[in-house]
């Protein structure tokens, strides 16, 4: 088989060149690649592997022994197993799984189970199980939208997460007690993998749990809030400016959405800075499509909280407007529509000029989806009312583009949409429309005149050149004649 291209060092899986399109492996090939389970790389094999002995069931335990038994089971669950080896320790794995299940049930249903001494044990068990170094992506061409690598130890891991969640949501849960153990180090600690770093997991099920868990942690442990916000900031900033890699952006944004929604008014400066320095630049990420819905939601929430941020948002989006990626352009246009849906008229006036200049540019895009999306704004009643109020400013900005594109565009749907837009404008203010039509025609005439004059100029030059050539050949001929006569005579 021919060697794979140097840009894709696949681990022992060579892609024949026939399967490549323009040098990149086809999507179908990538999907067909064996789904590899991820190792939990930091499972710790105790040198003397502890044998788990099955303990009595929690539901059968007398009340006096319940907490002790609970604690023992927690400790049992601190033993880690290797799931890459499917046949190893089957008995032990089952004991742990059953124990975890029981613990989940117990916390979910019984009251009075969570007493203070259990808190550190519970947190320890959780930490031991979930805080592990995420293996580096084995697939360098990992496509977050298509490939879904699965965590090998999910049978246990899922129950640990479930336990954590029920623990947090239990009516007996005491934040004042928990905060001693669920502290800043639990959230994030240098050179360790802690809660926030786990969001980089490639397994979406894990991220889903983490999202809900962090949401509850943020909600209940008020002392951690500022720290969590700051660390999320840093993760995003690193993502934007350094690595462009982080799998949990969408989940974190979803949590942020619920936080932004709850901001008190007036908005603190810290939050506004977050919007301008983190959320807006997030739009430049190459993988925007994965988290755009959540990002747009956050942006719109900000606007609903405080209308004065509108200008920052729109100018920011215009500054980062995609220049070569049309898929992103369509996303941006969708976001702009959502923003316009909630914008205040006084804010609209401040940004209408640069905004509609960009919209005009989108209308003239040769990519039909971009043009369509931009034209479809005129189907939005609220946006239409904003345009109508500011018709004098907006119509001149888009008029020439609309006319020109209606004559030139290849796509019939676009031509129809442009007719709709022009007709809408005509009904809004016929005099302005007629004036613009007249001046457009005048401009066109001037252009034609300029073209004619230019053509004339070139023609004149060519004629002049021809005449010169003629004169030169004549002169040369005369010269030859003289010479011949001279020779003869």
């Amino acid at each position: 088989m021919p060697p794979s291209s140097p840009s894709s060092p696949t681990t022992g899986f060579l892609v024949p060149s026939a399967e490549k399109v323009d040098g990149f492996p086809r999507r179908s090939m990538r999907r067909a690649r064996q789904r590899r389970s991820h190792s939990s790389s930091q499972f710790r094999y105790q040198s003397s592997q502890v044998e788990l002995t099955p303990l009595p069931l929690l539901k059968d335990a007398p009340v006096a022994e319940l907490h002790d038994l609970f604690c023992k089971k927690l400790q049992q669950c601190c033993v880690m197993f290797d799931f890459l080896d499917c046949v190893a320790d089957l008995k032990g794995k089952e004991i742990k799984r059953a124990a975890l299940n029981e613990l989940v049930e117990s916390v979910a249903t019984s009251r009075g189970v969570l007493i203070e001494p259990l808190y550190p044990e519970a947190i320890k068990m959780i930490s031991v199980n979930i805080f592990r170094t995420l293996p580096p992506s084995e697939n360098p061409e990992f496509d977050p939208e298509e490939d879904e690598p699965l965590e090998a130890s999910w049978p246990h891991l899922q129950l640990v997460y479930e336990f954590f969640l029920r623990f947090l949501e239990s009516p007996d849960f005491q934040p004042s007690m928990a905060k001693r153990y669920v502290d800043q180090k639990f959230v994030l600690q240098r050179a360790h993998v802690q809660l926030l770093e786990l969001f980089d997991s490639e397994d979406p099920r894990e991220r889903e749990y983490l999202k809900t868990i962090l949401h509850r942690v943020y909600g209940k442990l008020l002392g951690l809030r500022a720290y969590i916000r700051k660390q999320i900031n840093n993760i995003f900033l690193r993502f934007i400016y350094e690595t462009e890699h982080f799998n949990g952006v969408a989940e974190l944004l979803e949590i942020l959405g619920s936080i932004i929604n709850g901001f008190a008014l007036p908005l603190k400066a810290e939050h506004k800075q977050f919007l301008v320095r983190v959320l807006i630049p997030l739009h430049t990420a190459r993988s925007l499509s994965i988290f755009h819905a959540q990002l747009a939601y956050c942006v719109v929430q900000f606007m609903e909280k405080d209308a004065t941020v509108t200008e920052y948002i729109i100018r920011g989006l215009l500054k980062y407007w995609p220049k070569t990626c049309t898929q992103k352009e369509v996303m941006f246009l969708g976001e702009i529509e959502e923003i316009l849906d909630v914008i205040e008229p006084s804010q609209f006036i401040r940004i209408q000029e640069p905004l509609f200049k960009q919209i005009a540019a989108c209308i003239s895009s040769p990519h039909f989806q971009v043009a369509e999306r931009a034209l479809y704004f005129w189907n939005n009643e609220y946006i239409l009312s904003l345009i109508e109020e500011n018709c004098q400013v907006i119509l001149p900005l888009v008029f020439a583009t609309l006319y020109r594109v209606s004559k030139e565009h290849w796509n019939q749907t676009i031509v129809s949409l442009i007719y709709n837009v022009l007709k809408t404008f005509m009904e809004m203010n016929s005099k302005l429309f007629d004036d613009l039509t007249a001046s457009y025609k005048v401009e066109k005439q001037k252009e034609l005149k300029r073209d004619r004059e230019r053509a004339e100029l070139w023609r004149g030059l060519e004629e002049h050149q021809e005449r010169r050539m003629q004169m030169l050949t004549e002169a040369a001929r005369n010269q030859r004649n003289l010479q011949e006569r001279g020779e003869r005579g």
């Binding site: 800043q184 720290y227 400066a269 939601y297 969708g334 009643e381 109508e388 009904e427 016929s430």
Partner: protein, 333 residues
Amino acid sequence: MDAFKLMKELRLNYEQEVHYLPKKTGLSLIASSVQDDGRISAKCRDARVEDLWSLTSFFGYSTQTFVLAVNLLDRFLAMMRIQPKHLSCVSLSCLHMAAKVTEEECNLTPSDELIRIGQCRFTASDLERMEKIVAQKLNFKSFAVTALTFLHLYHRIALSHSADRKETLSLEQLEAQLKACLCRITFSLAKPSVLALALLRQGIEAVRSEDMLEIAYHIQKHLKIADSELLLWSERVARCLSDYASPECSKPDHRRLQWIVSRRTAQNLHSYRNVPELPTIPEGGWGESESEDSCEDGMSSGEESLSSSLGSDAEGPYFPLHLHRQKQHLRVP
């Protein structure tokens, strides 16, 4: 062309115009009728004429095409009682007929494109049949005397008498104003010569030219147009034009247009209207203040840098130094 010839042509057209007038009784019936499903009303005729103007403008047809189309339409409607559902077919066929005799072949839009852009439901063959019907009923060959005919003649007469004033009286503007008037059915009840004269006069009054006013008077006398008639239509024209020129924008009738997009765009249209699953977390909620966390102190004002506003851990390794430099570019404007 010299003045004498112009006046003669004027006279000729004046004598001809009566042949191209819509029947008064038929037109009045429409003008006075209230909107109902059984018959054409003034409102629906006016809406159709506006559509014709949109199409004229969109396809780059001349005002002549538009005026001729409206003339044909009004004459046909005054003569035949048609159902409102056929009105769009009638109006479009008038436009197509007018375009065929006025526009150059290369600029002519094919009928199926006309129908598609006009968002009509009938076929090209329906259009063709309707054209034949209209042409036959009106005995239309290729010509009609319309208000535009007179407007052009008046304009040339006015200019030939005062050659240095070429710029002041804009023919284009007069044409646009004529178009605005024709969008209201009442003006089709006026004689084209009178309507055009009324327009000319208000245009002259707007530029305050005494000379041209005299010329207009001269024309009126030449054609023996009664003062009262001219006054009546001048008033109506003035009112119409003040509406036309008002800077207020009117709300367009949105529901009449169809907005069709490609499947891919349609799929992505409302993909963001998702209801978030996570419940809102109120800031500083549940009675407890966040004062326990020292990070909150001194944050609420000013242009603080990101690090200092986010608590004492700012010097930690998770806020690398080079990002401080980045912050310069991100300053809140």
